[in-house]
Symmetry: C2
Subunit: 596 residues, 2 copies
């Protein structure tokens, strides 16, 4: 195993042992692709979601909504998921397991993007390269490739019911409610709507732990804009430096990144769309804040063949875990694809009236042939001649400049007095027009973000010659902020004092674990492994002095300890976790304790 593989294996083992995440329902044999977040993982996930909400909804002034995960069939007829949300399925004739044909071909050949090939071509590749079943090694040549829709289907209501699907992305819950959402935005573009919630994909072969699962959490933002009029103010992120891996660099043998500021990247059109540039800048800052190792992070542009036909530009945020780059967010300029599909399929109006800055004066040709003249003159042909006059007026208004105008019906020419056509040009004032808004979509995978944080935070070192592993999580992301221990658990005064401190810390809003069991060293190791940034130990001295006594605070990463007055505890911990104080500040201010 490489160092990277080891790291992933260690984190996966730690995740299960310490309650971050594990395969669900294993008491009943489990189900591939379904994971449960245990107490530690659910806390980290909740911290990530709160941080995302704060940054991408609250700070940006966007709206957050929550829509059902079950949606009726017509939504997915319109969105294209019912017809097009498929993977290529190949079944082994020997052991009857199912596999993704494109993945098998990519593993067995040098073909890199088999997903974009037509099924017959993939069948041919399977045959030519004698691709075998990864489960039983039987040959798969000659097996048909089926398309398999990745949506989970169900029936809504009793009796025959109506078909419904678990949403494959939270975005559709936003798009489908656009006619209402635009009202809440008082019909003014641009505006953004976010949603954090579960999405579902019935993967043929789920893999890589919580990276590719069948049920996962997305945080999506749909920013609705007028492509003609709305430009973002990128100044807040102009100087953010990002690692860009543009499509143009991905053809070569070596991996070359463009290290640019957002302002430079937009100016040089490395990032074509300034909205995408704006969100890449914010995302970079956000990932850094929550503790992603930015030396193992990049933005990769989609290759032309990779992106949807309607997407004007698309970038992924990618993190490196175990030597692989995994997509943790996508940033797509989706044009008006989504809303125009729903506008065409649904009864409601998905357009927005965009007023002009200044009203425009437009000329409008009006023609109303006088049938009391045309009728007697042309009999049964009058109506056709009238239509020909109207068509001519639209096509060639100058033809009405003379006194008479000539039209052709059934290869015969007819001449009419212009006066009898009631031809005239009127000027009208136009205040704006209806447009289908375009969509900028930053879409984040929450589970993969949690996974990245854990892997990037994993450390090993030795304390007093004893090996330890720990998670160097940011205080804001750690499942628990403070561990509180009585030095020994069989002295009632110590335990009472500990419980009083735990209560005061919980009242102050800290997430606290009290641990009375095992040696103090073992308790530190436990908290290190779940990433608790600070531990407070209550010893005889603390108990003897009561509230006017002192306790020790230990920092996770350095394993150093200082002794602070109990009355100062909440203030100092708040300063440490909110980033106003560093542990070295405390070291210079309070007595340092040697050893654990």
């Amino acid at each position: 195993m490489t160092q990277s593989d080891t790291e992933v294996a260690q984190v996966t083992e730690l995740a299960k042992r310490r309650g971050f995440f594990f395969a669900a329902s294993t008491a009943y044999g489990g189900t591939a692709g379904l994971y449960t977040f245990g107490p530690r993982g659910a806390a980290v996930k909740s911290n990530v979601e709160d941080a995302w909400r704060e940054r991408f909804t609250v700070q940006e002034g966007h709206f957050e909504i929550e829509s059902p995960t079950i949606m009726p069939e017509p939504v997915f007829e319109a969105s294209g998921h019912l017809d097009g949300f498929d993977d290529m399925l190949i079944n082994c004739p020997e052991c009857n397991t199912s596999h993704r044909a494109d993945h098998l071909v990519e593993t067995a050949t040098t073909v890199e993007d088999a997903e974009s090939l037509p099924a017959p071509e993939v069948e041919e590749l399977v045959a030519r390269y004698e691709v075998c079943c990864p489960s039983c090694n039987a040959g798969l040549a000659g097996e048909a490739i089926d398309t398999f829709n990745l949506m989970f289907e169900t029936e809504i209501g009793p009796g025959l019911g109506t078909p419904g699907y678990l949403r494959p992305e939270t975005a559709q819950g936003i798009f489908v409610e656009f006619p209402r959402l635009k009202e809440y935005a008082r019909n003014q573009l641009p505006f953004g709507v976010t949603q954090i919630g579960r999405a579902y994909r019935n993967e043929i072969s789920p893999r890589q732990s919580i990276v590719r699962t069948r049920e996962f959490t997305q945080a999506e933002l749909e920013h609705f804009i007028d492509p003609a009029g709305d430009m973002p103010d990128i100044s807040p992120v102009a100087d953010v430096e990002v690692s860009l891996y543009p499509a143009s660099e991905q053809a070569g043998e070596t991996t070359t990144y463009r290290e640019l500021t957002i302002a430079e990247a937009v100016k040089e059109s490395v990032i074509e769309n300034p909205w995408i540039g704006y969100y890449l800048g914010i995302a970079h800052q956000w990932y850094e804040d929550i503790g992603v190792d930015m030396s193992r992070f990049r933005f990769r542009q989609h290759l032309a063949g990779e992106r949807a036909h309607y997407a004007a530009d698309c970038w992924d945020a990618e993190s490196e875990v175990g030597g692989d780059w995994i997509e943790i967010a996508g940033f797509a300029h989706r044009g008006n694809y989504d809303l125009s599909k729903h506008d065409a399929h649904a009864d409601d109006d998905f357009s927005v009236f965009v007023p002009y800055d200044e009203a425009k004066t437009v000329e409008k040709v009006i023609v109303e042939p006088d049938m009391s003249v045309l009728g007697p003159a042309f009999g049964s042909l009058a109506s056709e001649i009238s239509e020909a006059i109207k068509a001519l007026a639209g096509r060639e208004p100058d033809a009405f400049d003379s006194d008479q105008v000539t039209v052709t019906v059934d290869e015969t020419e007819y001449t009419i007095d212009v006066a009898d056509t009631n031809f005239r040009v009127e000027t009208q004032t136009k205040h704006g027009e209806h447009i289908i808004p375009h969509v900028i979509e930053p879409s984040f995978g929450i589970d993969r973000t949690v996974y990245t944080l854990l892997v990037h935070a994993y450390r090993e070192d030795a304390i007093d010659t004893e090996d330890r592993s720990y998670l160097s999580l940011e205080s804001t992301m750690a499942p628990t902020t403070v561990g509180v221990f009585p030095l020994v658990s069989n002295v009632p005064e110590l335990v009472d004092r500990t419980e009083a401190i735990v209560k005061s810390l919980r009242d102050a809003g800290f997430s606290v674990i009290q641990d009375d069991s095992g040696t103090i060293g073992r308790r530190y190791r436990r908290q290190d492994e779940i990433g608790t940034p600070f531990c407070v130990t209550v010893d005889r001295e603390s108990a003897a002095e009561g509230e006017s006594g002192t306790v020790t605070i230990r920092e996770r990463d350095s394993a150093e300890q200082v002794r602070v007055p109990t009355t100062e505890l909440i203030k100092q911990l708040a300063g440490l976790t909110e980033g106003q104080t560093t542990f070295s500040d405390l070291r210079s201010r309070y007595p340092v304790i040697e050893g654990e």
Copy 2:
């Protein structure tokens, strides 16, 4: 309509118009029982969830987990949902609509709990009372009643797939992972595990807006206890006064509540189980904190026929909306029903080893008949005789007090020397025993809580003779904390100042709306209707003085305004929203502005 009906109608209309909640996917005709929370409702819902997490998980020191919403079939075979989670379905032969037979019978007759009757009896009631279809009025007599399982079914994986169900309650995601969760709790009872998440019930007839929907959010807490050893410390809630509606009072004509403290109710056995008492006390405080009108709130005990056969005791928290009492939480003592079911069905061990306070010395009878004696003596019967000796030793050890012992095999007596049986009594030390923990389950409906908060907060009054409606929500529950307006929107200095203030408030963590459109009065009305507790207006004076200027703060309920220095704004708003300052404090400290 009664006053109550009006209130519900007004709130439902306001909920749709202002973006609290509305029927989902209506652009495609909608689907009964599926609702979307708009920007305002999602914010309130998120506030309720955070407050619940803070109170019931963090403050109590419990674990929160997040499990998948899709679970495999064996889980529900074990839990009993596959067989028993049914409603009675009757189909109209004329218009082909489906109805809940028990509800129709309850409406048409004086029968109050038709759900608990067997189907044939309900069929008979339909016939006897000539119950009609509520949609087309056709007679339903003679129609068969089917049972309809309320779980949404789906297929997991490609090909034949395996059946899976959307969980009908979040609790099963906790129970099924108990073997792992007990390890995280280091096998020490009691401990509590919580989960907030979606649950699904394929209701035959969803109704009452977001009260009975097909997809909803639960917050559940499973407190695992040793029934023999664990007792709660109810002292933190001993003095909480609650309105109790015990089963014994529900038979009478009039509604009589017992107004007791938790300590009294537990002492008088009105609440039988102290754990239930503890959680009723906490829940009462929590509902009061988040803004439920406690004069429209009660705890109702389940009637004997209403509760599950395994439930030792069960109480509901109920709120009054529109004249109806709706269940917003349930508090059940579920015994060891859930875990013992899974222990029996699954391979894993759902028991916990509970150590005795002091090790017990127990006597153990040991008997090992000497086959080298019995074999030659009894031939082919030796083995049967040996078994008979062992059975006798277990049943009647005193029989071995003499030198010889007699056993009967096939109606013949055989006598053996006790010395050849190796009979002896050994004392053993037993340190504890394995038990299946019991479960105390407080289970909260989040959607119904949001609904209750909105209805209870709805107010109408008149400001300067103009009628207004507003939501008197708690600051901590309101979708937005502060509305910020430039007095007029066409003066750039005012708008710039406003934007600077909005940014500073967002940086300080406030949820802020900026509104530049319409008269100032109209903007206040908008914020009143969504329950924004405070509005800040930036006028020419504010802009002229810049950061050293003043702004006005307006309180929603009183519609009163004070003028405060901009530099004081964040501090004063923080004090107001966190409850350290009241608006009258501000009135006495700063100039009061007359009129809007």
